[in-house]
Symmetry: C2
Subunit: 420 residues, 2 copies
């Protein structure tokens, strides 16, 4: 945390006298009211440490209440809202009553667009984040940070598929489990997976897709992952389902994939690859596939290049990046791969995350026992913020289906993806 | 034409004595045999001006015969095959018996990849082609060159829809007319076109899509095109079909589009826009669409950046360029547009072009009366070469469906595109 409440730029920020009435507002109160006004007076009310209430000018009743517990916290959040709101929320110094997702969406919709990916700021941030770079060792550190914190924790809210990626909702009222299975089927159908196909999977999570490909489609799968906790869990599942003769889980980096396969699949790994490694990923894909090979990469993306939210890369996903489609093409274009089909299913991730968040909130007492109160709030904010990211279009979800340049054995239409 | 048979590099090229027997081959014959060998000895036989036959070493019977009528032509083609093969074929100094498409595919498959789009060569070529640049005036010249050569000529082989873009074959045995109508329906379905929608079309050809949108979907369409011949034809069709109250054809550049619309559509214009204008096209699209606007751009593309075949941009499509997907994203990413769906239907263009070529060959005598023998051969080569381009994956065909960044009224799945 780099905010300093004694810093020059806030030296003239006066001590607030208690101001219980809204009509006699403090300097902080006036500042926050102006902030509300610049956001179009959303139904948000601030409650300050002094007891002062700051409501929007519009006079409409606020459905979201934001309690700010001390002046230093307000200063920090005003100076660096992107990082410090998350820090303050996690520590409990800012509390939100009402719809947290709606609050974050109001902020996203009211904020200016992200800086361009190659802006000076962007490059500086990248330089400061060099410790998060996705070298072989850096990737292990980054992945360990998020995915090795305990399978029991994830089991509390991911549901029985243990799939930690965007699900696919044939209809909006599908259950999380139905939608995760539908996602796996959607991926397998796009890939025209058939009995005997050999598949290499890059970044396999707890193994749900690899096991699904083997059990439902008769494929043989080699699945790579550098998270030790996930690989151990996935291997145990393979044994229990008696699929360990057809599905091999390998604790290694995608860069070390060897051999030839009919199919390459990667669902939710690209976010951790780093733009500087896209061309190498493309070479790995190309050398893994024969002349009629096909593949699918599923990843969080963006409408235009830009960094992920800085609080997310600080606290939740170190080293992560969500590419624009143009950036994603740097996997395929230099490597003799041909893109057949791109589908953007961002609203499905909003639905998925809402299901996860609902289950997470029910399990918060158990999460608190596993970790602490800060952790509970941090992950609640991460899940709610992610819903808001996908609902506001700040984030996208791209599924890119591709084949080798020379392959003409491709379906004429996409009807095959939609047949029962 | 810049080839000079007396140039230094060929000064040592000897006069060939007639060599009727294959066993005593001339220098030219040995050179061509080595060429065949480097292409893996395809079933191609050369017949030289001297009567000498040059067959592949493999001994398999050649199904394609290439007659070369004089030594100077061979020299020119060997020095600059990309441009000079087309020139020699058009002038009749090289003749091909057998499958012309197959011959070109052999060449494409045997050739090294195109130079990268930003290579020195690429930049030099762009500099030399500055006369073809797509400024407002340059675009008019470029479009006039191709599209204003006579509606009667195009009517000979485009079929009654007069659609001069990739069709969509629900099954490979669909007729050209069925496939062109299916393409228009595929585009309208993707756009969820409904009665009363206002559409702006950029680059409308002879008006088939605009008229289809009005007559079958009840849309109101303003369609832009800078080809005077095409606009005149389209207006006449609108009158005949009594759609001129709902479809307006405007002879103007897409850059001059004004007004607000529910839908933006552009099928087969992007090839003529020029990469330097993609960001401007994106701004035109963005300012034309309201918050829930949607659009589709359909264009020839490539797997990776590269120039079109130089003979094509010299003789057929001055100023044309087929972008890679990453390049195409420069329309959408800077402009607050969100890509929902990309479909690559390159094999459909190969089918479409085969249908066009079949009809063209039947009509060649009539084309000869309209133009001359050189024109007949030039356009035959262009159509056959285009089939080869799409069949070998040298060319792609992308349909990109998009909406505004803020629009959440998007279908959850693509099932709607495949319902009857």
């Amino acid at each position: 945390m780099n905010a300093n409440p004694k810093s020059e730029s806030f030296a003239d920020f006066p001590d607030d006298a208690p101001a219980p009435s809204q009509t006699h507002s403090s300097f902080a109160g006036r500042l926050l009211r102006r902030l509300l006004s610049s956001f179009g007076n959303p139904p948000v009310e601030f409650i300050l440490w002094s007891g002062e209430h700051v409501a929007p000018d519009s006079g409409s009743a606020a459905t979201i209440k934001v309690r700010i517990h001390d002046r230093a916290t307000l200063l920090r959040v005003l100076r660096d809202p992107q990082v410090q709101f998350g820090e303050a929320y996690s520590s409990g110094r800012v509390e939100v009553e009402g719809d947290l997702i709606q609050l974050i969406e109001l902020i996203y919709r009211g904020m200016p667009a992200q800086p361009a990916a190659n802006s000076l700021r962007h490059r500086l941030v990248n330089w400061f984040r060099r410790s998060q770079r996705n070298t072989l060792a850096g990737s292990r550190r980054n992945i360990h940070h998020h995915y090795d914190i305990g399978n029991e924790f994830y089991a509390l809210w991911l549901g029985e598929t243990m799939a930690y990626t965007c699900a696919y909702y044939p209809t909006a009222d599908a259950s999380l489990e139905q939608a995760q299975i539908a996602k796996m089927d959607h991926v397998c159908r796009k890939l025209q997976l058939k009995p005997g196909d050999s598949v290499v999977e890059a970044g396999c999570g707890w193994g749900s897709l690899a096991l699904h490909m083997a059990s439902r489609y008769g494929a043989r799968v080699r699945a790579f992952n550098i998270s030790g906790e996930q690989v151990a869990y996935a291997r145990e599942r393979a044994r229990q389902q008696q699929l360990d003769d057809r599905v091999e889980f390998i604790q290694d980096d995608y860069r070390n994939i060897s051999g030839h396969y009919d199919v390459f699949a990667s669902v939710g790994m690209l976010e951790h690859v780093g733009r500087e490694n896209y061309a190498e990923l493309g070479r790995v894909v190309r050398r893994s596939l024969g002349a009629s090979g096909r593949g699918l990469i599923h990843s969080i993306g963006r409408n235009h290049p830009g960094l992920l939210h800085p609080w997310i890369t600080r606290r939740i996903f170190p080293g992560a990046y969500a590419p624009s489609l143009a950036e994603m093409m740097q996997i395929f274009e230099p490597s003799g791969l041909s893109v057949l089909d791109v589908e953007n299913i961002r609203l499905h991730y909003a639905l998925t995350l809402r299901h996860w968040l609902d289950r997470y909130r029910v399990a918060e007492d158990r999460v608190r026992k596993m970790f602490d109160d800060t952790f509970v709030r941090m992950w609640r904010l991460y899940l709610a913020g992610s819903v808001a990211g996908f609902e506001t279009g700040t984030l996208q979800l791209f599924q890119v289906l591709f084949t080798t340049r020379e392959n003409n054995h491709i379906p004429l239409t996409r009807q095959y993806q939609y047949s029962a």
